[in-house]
Amino acid sequence: MIPDALMERIRQAPEEGLVLASRVRLARNLEGHPFWETDTLAGQEQTYLELEAFRSQHFPDLELVADSSCRQETLSLLVERLELPQPLRLRSGASWAAYQEVSGARGMLLNDEDHLRLWSQRTGCDLLGCLEDLSDWEETLRDHLTLARDARWGWKTWSPSALGSGLQAGVLLFLPALRWTRRIESTRNALEAMGFLLQPVLDSDADTALLAVANRMSLGITEAELAARLEELVGRLVAEEHRALDDLTQQQELELRDGVARAEALLAASRLMTRSEMLRRLELCAMGSRLGWLPANRARLAVLLHLVTGNAHLEGLAGAVSREALPSLDDLRAGAVAKAWLARE
């Protein structure tokens, strides 16, 4: 049920699964080519063919992950499992493709909103390492393509929000104690004031402890400075999460112990479970695990189950069974969670 690469990444995540993964994305565009939305179909195809010819010459070993022939369900599943970066939209007629290395550590999107988007990801908080991983690729682009660049504003991007470095850097965090102490909103506001964002990893989960902290600004700062600033913020967020968990245990230890014990039992035994209910119970178990009340592997398992029990994944499972036999996804979700929860690693 759980992809091996994702399992491994989360198993290695430091801070008991609090800091899961880092990802950077660099946007670059071809001079003289419209962005896909304003281009004609013939123009989109032409741009794509140019990019594809470049890709096959300089990056021939990359594997095709998805392209314009994919169904929306397939794309949603890849995004849900964090195998492809968001946003990735199905566009009728337009040619685009996503490639990545076999390891999944680096990849590139051709003719998405920007003509080229390179990405790399690492376990834990290591944005500077992610940048290093993209160094050679980015040099190859600069050496062999005529890229759109402004003397004052740097790399020109589809959206002016990524102008300058073209960098979007993000770290995936699991912060249940901040959510349970209702501090996510104030944390988000404080980060926004500093030019950073704290957002749910999956758009469909508005109220979640699985969050990505990312840069909002990208102009007037080098890639390394931006990545370093974000890494520093991650350290502060982790400290805040520890503080929130301390506060919870000092102020409501009995209630928390009770909640953890109930959640542990219900995750293993429920026959129906909404996504929202599941998220709350997983958060409680993750906190219980960090406090030593539950086995140590529970915190990481909670994160994994966040990622592999999304609607796209469950709908994929449902596709293998008769639709009529499935009134909702809640029974599939409960079954998948119980199976994983009862399994001993």
Partner: protein
């Protein structure tokens, strides 16, 4: 006929930008330059001049060196010579 707020390269309009928050082509940045300036300053917190592009690996190494020097100075200031020595070794290995 294009009006003063259209991009001559792709025909994208400023009103469409305000609606969709993206541009039509790289040349739009020149077509809408004066209109974009205040928005960029707001979004990017005042930064409106991008440093010249540098090799990413070099940027990272340079940043790490600066950070190690800063931490070495701090270690010396608090008389933590073991940590200062460790950082000195890192710096020597890197250069």
């Amino acid at each position: 006929m294009l009006n003063e707020k259209d991009c001559s390269a792709c025909g994208f309009t400023w009103s469409r930008f305000l609606r969709e928050e993206h541009l039509g082509c790289p040349a739009c940045y020149d077509a809408f330059r004066s209109l974009l300036v205040p928005m960029l300053r707001h979004h990017h917190r005042g930064g409106d001049v991008q440093p010249e592009p540098m090799n990413l690996r070099e940027q990272v190494r340079s940043h790490r060196r600066q950070e190690w020097v800063r931490r070495q100075d701090a270690a010396i200031a608090r008389e933590d010579y073991e940590e200062a020595g460790r950082l000195r070794t890192l710096l020597a290995d890197e250069s």
